[in-house]
Subunit: 432 residues, 2 copies
């Protein structure tokens, strides 16, 4: 199946620099991009799509979320972090069934696909349900089952969480034509212990796995770790082997200079979650320092319980704004930096080669943004328009592996009515 997308402005990255192709053509053969440029390819196509009035950009990567938490959207809003978590979130989570997780995952996929996300990195329990939903929906995801340990007498070999994580890896890693990758995952320093972290990290290293961790999200967490171990969370995880294979860390609001060196030396990626960090009062991750050090920085929404949406276009906008304000300098961020964080850098973080960009030989994952709504006129600077002016209402098309998942408001791989029905039932039960 050969498809030509024509007459769009196409954004991609060449040698890390943003390129804008006016009146562009994008030729897709099955799941791969064959051509991108400003000349019309002369070969025959099974399908030709006129994309006049759109900007085509690489599909967006949401590199840290907890997708089933859509079911907790708006729970305990505006409470202090500990009350929100312990009094509101945990009691609902205790009631969640596998069926709920499935419904919440599908709802998250609808929200993500319709706002231009083509791949996400997830951390939650009952992850098989999320994997199956991703398989059906057609996007990509790095899925993980977080490991925690609250019982000091528990032997790591007996941990059901570790067992579930390894089973997930065995059953789903590279599933659905490689659209699913299974990550290893330690929830955080403050929810795990040394023996569990050391043992599980060795398993990750044996499998050459990719470790997903919450690191230094709050100053409390960061300082309490130093109080306990005389080490930052980053140093603690390094000392236990958690970074011996590949790794990426969410939040990283409080990395020290030494932590940054560790990130750089181990090629650890950072996921910046500005909305969640602002809303929960965590603070400003110094991502401009991370970028300056050469650390790969991607973006994420965190879960819908702390965001409260999964809209990466809005996340990109917020990430573009807050650092300029914090440093009183209009030149800290730029639309180009943000676009790269949300696409190319996301694919690097997830360990996906030939993904996250629009280049020949790359996976045909892209998004078309309409330029015909009042908020998108005039189109003087495509990157600025996408980062500062666009919203989910401007997403016209979401394509993964060459397959159209979403077009002009319609979900082509998902049964919206069934998902809404299942979510309604889950919500009624959870909050009755």
């Amino acid at each position: 199946m050969k498809t030509l997308y024509k007459n769009s402005t196409i954004l991609n990255f060449l040698d890390g620099k943003l390129t804008v192709i006016k009146n562009g053509f994008l030729a897709v053969n099955d799941d791969l991009i064959e051509y991108v440029g400003d000349k019309e390819p002369e070969c025959a196509f099974d399908c030709v799509k006129d994309m006049t009035g759109t900007i085509i950009m690489p599909g967006i990567y949401n590199c840290h979320t907890h997708s089933p938490m859509t079911l907790l959207r708006g729970v305990g809003s505006d409470l202090p972090l500990d009350k929100w978590l312990f009094q509101k979130v945990f009691p609902v989570e205790d009631k969640l069934t596998a069926q709920d997780i499935e419904a919440g995952s599908y709802l998250a996929l609808m929200e993500m696909i319709s706002s231009g996300t083509v791949s996400f990195s997830d951390m939650y329990f009952e992850p098989e349900k999320t994997c199956e939903a991703v398989g059906r929906a057609g996007l990509r995801a790095n899925i993980s089952r977080p490991v925690q340990c609250f019982d000091p007498t528990e032997k790591p070999e007996d941990s059901y969480r570790i067992k579930q994580s390894i089973d997930l890896y065995d059953n789903y890693n590279k599933a659905f034509d490689g659209r699913i990758l299974v990550d290893f995952c330690i929830h955080a320093e403050y929810t795990c212990d040394e023996k569990t972290t050391r043992y599980y990290s060795s398993l990750c290293n044996e499998s050459k796995g990719n470790m997903h961790i919450h690191i230094s999200e709050t100053l409390k967490e960061h300082n309490e770790c130093i109080g306990k171990y005389n080490m930052t969370p980053t140093k603690w995880f390094e000392s236990l082997g958690a970074f011996d294979s590949r790794a990426f860390a969410a939040h990283c609001v409080f990395l020290t200079e030494e932590d940054m060196e560790i990130f750089k030396n181990h090629n650890i990626s950072v996921v910046h979650n500005p909305t969640s960090n602002m809303k929960l009062g965590s603070g400003f991750a110094p991502v401009e320092d991370y970028i300056a050090k050469g650390i790969n920085v991607a973006l994420g929404t965190d879960g819908a319980a702390s965001n409260n949406n999964l809209d990466m276009l809005e996340e990109m906008h917020i990430a573009s704004l807050i650092h300029n304000g914090y440093h009183r300098d209009a030149t800290i961020m730029s639309a180009e930096k943000i676009l790269k964080m949300a696409t190319v850098n996301g694919a690097v973080l997830q360990g996906r080669e030939n993904c996250g960009n629009i280049l020949p030989g790359y996976k045909a994952d892209f998004v078309a943004i309409g330029t015909d709504a009042p908020n998108m006129i005039p189109c003087l600077d495509e990157a600025a328009l996408i980062v500062y002016s666009a919203g989910r209402s401007d997403v016209r098309l979401t394509v993964v592996d060459g397959k159209v998942l979403y077009e002009k408001g319609e979900f082509l791989t998902l049964d919206k009515e069934k998902i809404y029905y299942d979510v309604k039932k889950a919500v009624e039960r959870l909050y009755s």
Copy 2:
């Protein structure tokens, strides 16, 4: 004409507190609200609208913008403030014709109406064009012609800017059934002088006018004023009589304790513009302090050149987030505070009685937000859902003076094709 809007969840404010009316009914008679509550009124209606699956809230007030600057959306993005303004913005503004201003105003009105704004406070030149556009579009606006003085020898009595401002007041104040109010306006301390400010302030006072000013947007402006006059901009304006009638000030990123006292004593409202303050690197207005002092705080987008959109739903979200992050405290802002800033407080700032709330006897200005998109499910907390999760794509209906201006993606008072044509012509000329 009597219309009943039924089966919606309705948000309003009673004695300053947010109230949520489930399964609500809203009865409108011509331009006024007759009833709001959870009982179905028994009288006859000319029209009954089933609003199942929506939240009806008071219409949104965008209290500081420069609407024709939609034509400069994306110009010089990511440059430092002075280069952006002097090298990019001013050269385009120098070319703007009255016809361009008209086209840019209409484009702004489309963007505002479709994202739930029912009233705005504008500051720009050729304001008659904006007034006529607002008259036709059907929303409300406080329009002003900014006064500046760059020639120390110019007599205030001879200032064409002051003359234009007074002409505007004479010709358009209370026009279109009072939907237009004309404000007085001094652009800023750094673009005006003592004699002009004193003279024009006395005219404002004679007319019992409402003065719109940029105050202490950047630390540079604030400190240079102190250097010149040994007074803050606020103190300087007070000393020249600019606050003798009514006044409101945009930005206010750097008010001192004494400035706050002046604001409080003169009942001056603050317009918080978080996106613009972040993007341009100005900093964080301490709005939580202003609120604590009892100062009326409203919200605005600023112009599309520095935002780069006019979406108040996004502005509300950003305003709700950044202060928690800045102070590392999740309880600084709340959805309720933000909703009040964007509605009730905006009407107070504009000097509009019986506006900005959904109560019997109030003007029938409201917005219906759909709760059927994936980002709006589940609906556990209506205020949180609107502030943290909703976007312009969720606006189903915008009503002003009882008249539907926008419904399900259609503009009922504006000719979209003509506006787009005019904007295209203006943009081609401006950037050729």
